[in-house]
Symmetry: C2
Subunit: 301 residues, 2 copies
């Protein structure tokens, strides 16, 4: 099984209380695809400029990630610069340069069309919708989608329109409240279900995750970490773990979704242990299983 | 088995976005003893004034709570008034009137001395220490203790001195950071272990609980609730569930402590469903077991 992901591949400059990283690989699709590729093949759709370092292309190639849909065009690669304070919550954006991303018109390569799983990583809901429109046989596919506060604030209508066609929606805690104007998280989740998604993962950062469907509820705490170096990409990595596991198991049962949530949680711990993709690129199936075991021990009673 | 609890029994006036309650039963020892009494006999030590309503004495009598150590003296009962905002986090205290509590010198009734479990609910660390001094055969007892930000700020030395003799310390997330000046919760917990307690429960409110000992880690999410009416006493109730379960099982193994954390979590959900002790007084063993089952389902993967 394979997964299509459309999203950003970019260069990040990040400052946290534990260090800095400059012009390093970032972007929602980068984190997602690295996490998901541990479970199944990933078919990437994104764009980069001609300043995009070859070493990062190599990094993608070292994983089970197809790049037929990665367009390298003249211009600058999308770049983001941000800073985290001590609480390591939402970063302060210092600058965003769209570069070649401003003219990004994602196109689904013919050879991707067999993928049963599609993930619309956090980009403009109009672009997400555009990709969705290129997918044939929607009924047999599983469509996941992420977003962010910026789109909720500036393109809420487009986002709500998109949500009608989404199977699995990923959103963080504060965004769920923002989208629904409902302070109680469970009520917020139920309100989002009414917009269309069949399942919702509410990402709570260091407080774990909540999975809500019409019939089912699941909650898990986060893995306890003594050191978080850089939280950038944690949410995209979580989604990568979830969608990757779903594609691998070819199941969408509630039990599979619960396990997927844990795999997503564990994958995210690797991402935040280091800057950029440094943590993720070291993850092996064995390391993943070992940490999964530790997590089970941490939460069992 | 029985548990001694020393703490406050008072009259609360609470305003939340969901309603108000005036001059209703409150106080750390009230919540604790009601929760713990579902598991084992509770031996209460507290003081009330002559304005303390008889109906609340009856309420204690309806549970397995001995009142030999509850002194009713001339004067006003301790009273607290507070208000919660929409996020239902820490309340704003409007007034605190110590009343007869100002001259409270807790005395351990001889008939309590067989209790193997002792809980020093949130009161002045000097009073907590005083009670501890009256306990003979400390080595064979299990001493639990709670505190609050006020004592950390104003009597930190006394509190640290007390912690040397504590087996199980209950503290909430922000207080743990305040006490240790350490933003990372796991590091904060490990720093508190160095002060003396053998085990620490870090209460995270709607984000669950963390149990840390020298060797073990356990974390559990909170029970998902669509409606929290009044969070007052949630922490005391949690401790009541934990200590009650420990006394009932006569065990202090890590597996028992994990289960105790879940019982504490579940008991707290009953407390916050209504004002004062209204939620807790309706809890039966059957209701507890039913909710425990639901919790297992909520978190299993």
């Amino acid at each position: 099984m394979s997964i299509i992901v459309v999203g950003s591949v970019g260069l990040d400059s990040v400052k946290t209380p534990f260090g800095t990283a400059k012009n390093v690989l970032g972007g929602s699709a980068s984190y997602f695809s690295h996490a998901a590729s541990l479970f199944s093949q990933v078919n990437l759709i994104a764009t980069v400029g001609n300043n995009f370092p070859k070493k990062y292309i190599k990094l993608f190639n070292q994983r089970n990630i197809r790049l037929d849909g990665l367009k390298q065009v003249a211009g600058k690669t999308f770049s983001w610069s941000g800073q985290y304070s001590w609480n390591m919550a939402d970063p302060k954006t210092i600058s965003t340069e769209l570069g070649v991303f401003a003219n990004f018109r994602p196109k689904l390569p013919a050879q991707y069309k067999k993928s049963k799983h599609i993930f619309l990583a956090n980009i403009d809901p109009e672009l997400q919708k555009n990709v969705l429109g290129q997918i044939k046989g929607r009924g047999s596919k599983i469509i996941g989608c992420d977003t962010m506060d910026f789109w909720i604030q500036n393109k809420k209508k487009k986002l709500l329109n998109l949500l009608k066609d989404i199977d699995i929606f990923f959103i963080n805690e504060s965004e769920a409240r923002q989208l629904t104007q409902e302070p109680n998280l469970l009520k917020a989740a139920r309100a989002i279900l009414k917009f269309g998604p069949k399942k919702i993962f509410i990402k709570r950062g260091e407080h774990g995750v909540l999975l809500v469907s019409g019939k089912h509820l699941f909650t898990a705490p986060a893995y306890l970490m003594e050191s978080v170096v850089d939280p950038t990409g944690a949410g995209d990595t979580f989604a990568g773990g979830v969608m990757g596991y779903l594609a691998m198991t070819k199941s969408k049962s509630i039990d599979t979704l619960r396990k997927a949530a844990i795999y997503g949680t564990i994958m995210a711990t690797f991402a935040v242990e280091d800057f950029s993709l440094e943590g993720l690129k070291k993850v092996s199936s064995i390391k993943l299983k070992t940490r999964m075991k530790k997590f089970r021990k941490l939460v069992s009673f």
